[in-house]
Structure formats: structure tokens, C-alpha cells
Symmetry: C2
Subunit: 191 residues, 2 copies
């Protein structure tokens, strides 16, 4: 998705050789017009799939998933919760996710009410790096005996193991911008 790559190239702030900060449009400030373009592109790529639910994880995935839903017939969005909340009932699917960015392992949970075995689920998230968050969501879909239709990612860091882990499990992965490397202040995209 050329428009997205241009935004990353022009507005991303590179930190070292592994991080590009895009909080100007993706995960702190949100460009809702761009999110609509992203949602439309996900629809184009998963055109042939019947999706009944979009699953993501708080926080940065929520805006993407909500906007994308509009292109998938307004299917419900469910976001996995990272922390224990008094307001969430006890009947939940639980799994553990390790975040390398934050250097901690946390539980994520989804109420059993909102993912059922009839669901055909599209996972959407902002970044794919080590893949642990997405694998956690896959595990929840599996626990629910629902069908995973695919994973839509905005920015994939292809030099980290997430992509390979998902492809090894036979998951259909669509990443809108794939970064092969970051060197000398230049972001190199997969063509």
C-alpha cells in the first residue's frame, strides 16, 4: 500500500535499527482518513472471505478494527483485554502474551460471550514484530473453536520472527507495509 509506505517513510521517526515510531498517525495520534484507506485495503485483500467478527487487542488495534468493520458490513469488533477488570465476567478465554517492547508477560482475555464456534474471525493489529500478540489472539480463536480467516497487519517488521511463525501455522497473513530493514536512517520496504 504505497500511501502507507510513504507516510511511514515521511513521518516515521527511526530509533536505532529496529524501531520506527509512527505515533503521529497510527498509535497515539490517529489519522482517521488513512484508517479508512487501510480498512478498505483490508476489505480488498479479504474480499473472498465471509467474516463475522473482527478481533484485535487493546489499545492500538481498536481504532483500526472499528474503522475497518465499516467495510466488512459493520461486523462486531471484539478487543482482547490486557488487564484484569472487575467489569469483565469470569467466563473468559485466557492466554499469555509476552511483549518485547514493554518487556513483560501479561494475560489477555476475551469473554466467551463474544467469540463462538460459529464465528469466522479476521484479526487486525497495528504492528507485527515477534508475533506474540497475534499468536495469543489465534489461541483464543482456537479455544473458542471459531474459524480464523486471516490476519491483517498495518506494519510488519519482516526482519523479526512474527511473519514466519504465522506462516508456519498456515495462517493467511496480509501486511500492508512490510519493512525488511532499517539502516542508516533509511527504511527498506519489501516490494
Amino acid at each position: 500500500m504505497e500511501k502507507l509506505k510513504n507516510r511511514i517513510q515521511n513521518q516515521g521517526r527511526i530509533i536505532g535499527t529496529e524501531i520506527v515510531n509512527v505515533d503521529i498517525f497510527l498509535n497515539h495520534q490517529i489519522d482517521v482518513q488513512l484508517f479508512n484507506d487501510i480498512g478498505q485495503e483490508f476489505k480488498r485483500r479479504f474480499e473472498n472471505e465471509t467474516i463475522t467478527k473482527i478481533l484485535t487487542i487493546e489499545s492500538s488495534g481498536i481504532g483500526l478494527a472499528a474503522i475497518a468493520s465499516q467495510y466488512f458490513g459493520f461486523v462486531p469488533v471484539v478487543f482482547a483485554r490486557k488487564v484484569e477488570s472487575k467489569l469483565l465476567d469470569n467466563e473468559v478465554y485466557l492466554t499469555e502474551v509476552h511483549s518485547f517492547t514493554k518487556n513483560k508477560t501479561s494475560q489477555i482475555r476475551v469473554s466467551k460471550r463474544y467469540i463462538t464456534k460459529e464465528d469466522r474471525v479476521l484479526i487486525i493489529d497495528d504492528f507485527l514484530a515477534n508475533g506474540n500478540a497475534v499468536l495469543g489472539l489465534c489461541d483464543i480463536i482456537n479455544q473458542a473453536s471459531a474459524t480464523l480467516c486471516g490476519v491483517g497487519i498495518v506494519i510488519e517488521k519482516s526482519f523479526q520472527p512474527g511473519r514466519k511463525k504465522l506462516l508456519d501455522q498456515g495462517v493467511r497473513l496480509e501486511s500492508l507495509a512490510r519493512i525488511n530493514s532499517i539502516s542508516d536512517g533509511i527504511i527498506n520496504f519489501e516490494d
Copy 2:
């Protein structure tokens, strides 16, 4: 907003006399069509205001703010972060927020890049109870010398002090459903 009150009445799960759980459409599973109705209603109520930015707080406000932005000319959405993240730069507005639901005080932060003194800001959030989250966002707007145009809330628990705190500060508050009390399994709305 009648449609919203009906959803709360029909789908909310009442817990005691102070909590109604609406995670079926608002803050765990998201009904994106309803979110569009909510966004449109916020636009109707703040029609006369020039808004340049929508500010919310992770996580439940993000989907609401992103969808609402579409009715405010796609103005950028900024969401305050609750936790320290390596990816957020050091130049932030910081404030403290106590959550009664989670019984803990945490810092929230917004990058100084994304709220400036030229901004005319609409705050959007899912719930107003004690008001601490919204007051924290007001404090950030104040630190930025930006203009607070108003606060849009989906569900206000009018029997808790948040409403009064905001009105006492002269804040323009628009709550789409105001709950006066919860008793004997009945939710009583302000007319």
C-alpha cells in the same frame, strides 16, 4: 438518545446498584453501527463548535473517538496513554488519574507534539462516573494551553460526582444517556 437508552436497558447486565455492564456493545465487543449513531449525535450536539482534535483515553474511548471523527471532518484523534511505553518520546504532558473501578492511581500522558495551543479540543469517553479520567484529560488540555470545547460522554452515572465536578469548572458536558439510579434491577434514566 433513545436508541442508546434502549440498548442499555435491554442488553446491560446490572451488577448491584452502581454498575451496568455494557461490554456487549460498548467496551469489549463494539457495535460499530451504534458507534456511528453516537458519533452523529455528538456532531449534532457540538454542531456550533469548531473542533480541531478529539482527545480520549485508552482503551474504550478509542473506537468511539475514531468513528466520531468521521462526523467532525476527520479531525485527528489523540488518545492518552496509561502506561509508560518505550515508544513514546519524553516530551509529554503528564497527569495522574485515580480509577475507582480498578482501585489504582496511574499516570496518563500525551505527547506535546499532538496537542498544541492552537487546538480546539473535544473530549470523548465511554463512561462518566467520578470524572477523574476526564479531569485528567482537561488538565492535559490546560497544560497545552489548548481550548477545551466540550466533553461528550456515552453513559453518565449521574449519581456519582463526575458531572458536578465538570459543571463546577464550567465545562460544557453532553452525555447521551444519563443514569439517575439503579435499583431492583431497573435502570432509571434522566429524561
